[in-house]
Symmetry: C2
Subunit: 291 residues, 2 copies
DNA sequence: TATTTTTTTCTCATATAGTGGAATTTGGTC
DNA sequence: GACCAAATTCCACTATATGAGAAAAAAATA
């Protein structure tokens, strides 16, 4: 028991509520007192109603409680991806050690998946053949193939490993991810990850020498069906970029370059220089291979 | 008790876990069974650990439970603002009725604030003098002046009512909002609302015939201190717009118009036509009053 | 300071959250 | 269908969450 009650007290007092006011119709004042003093745990149904009355989301509540911001999950994937991008072997090893502990203690599939992901990252950075972890990569694939509800965890896991997979697998899993997570439609964080996956899938489809034109159209359809809000300029801009690359690939060179240039100039105008550089770089790669 | 256990069961089964695996080290299998069958409530500490093991956030969990997406709060403000913008009196009355009930039952300040806000919206749309609700508007102000922790609720409440306030009050409260909510720094939703408030404040500062130049600079400093991520193009673009308006106001007409035009063209390029129209409209108003 | 009123804590009683292990069901194998 | 193993439920029991009301403390009023 982590004494969540004490946090409730802090908040209640800062809102100037008496215990009576907070408890009214929910639970007894005497129990609230005990809970707030950290002398008792509280049932889910009760804390839900208390937080509602304090007009506080669970997210805020936990944040106020221990200042641990983005949930452990989000944090884990952010760290892992960061370590990979920066080729930071030390951090990767550290993360892997933690993941190994968890896997050894609980033996749950998710922990093993995390472990596999980190292992593969390490191999790639070290420049080793990944055959040593070959079978465990299969394990991760198997996990994703069997998922029935794609929650935030699965989406992030997939998004972090799809670049390792063969095209057919990407096509199947991206479809799954899109279709089997639609029930989260209203949750921003999940929504954002789905969009990221679709973007990556589209980029992937355009990646090889022989682009998957048909599949590309399907995924573009998915993306457009999401009805991206007007103020989500980043996604709209990236969408423009991907469409531009597509045009180049199918031969409409001038039109395509024009579109991508627009993407880049928008990034530049808004001072997002790193993003501009990345986009420019990508454009050059595509143009080079066309020669 | 809303049978949250049944939702846990669904998720557990879809993840292919046995009760043994989920319960291991957290609680007994027999109790988990009871809980999952909806025959018992569960303590906060336990459900936290279960969800952690299921790699599910509370947000996702509640969403899977009852499909009620964005928390009640977010939903309330979204609805209220929507009704106001669309001048939808019917919806406003409906919201007001619900708010009135809550206020009568619980007598909590927050419910009264909601009530006041809706009441003022209605008066404005009806074109009535707001003197009838005059004193209750004071109540809302008093509430915001006394807040010590600006959570999501307070930020939204303020953001929805600041346009009714005199300049001095806006200056003070916007400062409060910024300083007293910084502890939520890592929570996206809160962060986004703070940014919205700063943007509105800046717009407000530029609004009158005699702009509050000094204050403007202070708030712009706040906004820039937030270190807006490169991929938050909407905010960056709006920032550009506000800076442009500022330049116009202080006399650098050509430079300012140029900046705002850039904002508009970015919106247009990305197909955000409504936003483009709004920005254009605003620019014209500013230009007109300068004549 | 004494008195009244409001708010919080304490004591004890009860309901219910949570455990261990036996009994039952489920699912696969012969 | 009988048998086995794993997974789940049931049952008796314990620990603890929660309630009612008295006692104590704090705040307000005189």
């Amino acid at each position: 028991m982590k004494k969540y009650g004490e946090t409730v007290r802090r908040i209640r007092e800062q809102k100037g509520y008496t215990m009576q006011q907070l408890a009214e119709g929910i639970l007894s004042v005497s129990f609230l007192s005990k809970f707030e003093r950290g002398e008792s745990d509280i049932s889910l149904s009760y804390i839900i109603r208390l937080l509602e009355r304090l007009s506080l989301t669970f997210e805020e509540f936990f944040y106020l409680h221990d200042s641990v911001g983005p949930g452990e999950l989000e944090h884990f994937f952010d760290k892992a991806n960061e370590a990979y991008v920066n080729r930071d072997l030390e951090q990767l090893t550290q993360l892997r050690k933690i993941a190994l502990d968890k896997w050894e203690i609980h033996g749950l599939e998710t922990f093993r998946c995390n472990l596999v992901m980190l292992g593969v990252y390490e191999c790639i950075i070290r420049g080793e053949k990944t055959t040593s972890t070959g079978d465990s990569l299969e394990f991760l694939y198997a996990y994703l193939f069997e998922v029935e509800i794609w929650g935030y965890y699965e989406l992030r896991l997939y998004n972090s490993t799809m670049f390792l997979m063969p095209p057919e697998m990407v096509i199947t899993l991206s479809k799954n991810a899109f279709e089997k997570s639609s029930r989260f439609g209203k949750l921003k964080k999940t929504d954002k990850t789905i969009i990221a996956i679709l973007m990556n899938t589209l980029t992937y489809m355009m990646g090889g020498a022989v682009p998957y034109v048909e599949q590309y159209k399907v995924f573009l359809g998915y993306l457009e069906s999401l009805d991206i809000p007007e103020d989500d300029l980043y996604i709209r801009n990236t969408q423009l970029q991907i469409k531009g690359i597509y045009e180049i690939k199918i031969g409409n060179r001038v039109k395509g370059i024009d579109m991508v240039q627009k993407t880049i100039s928008i990034f530049t105008d808004l001072g997002s220089n790193e993003l501009a550089a990345t986009a420019e770089n990508y454009l050059n790669i595509v143009l080079d291979e066309k020669k």
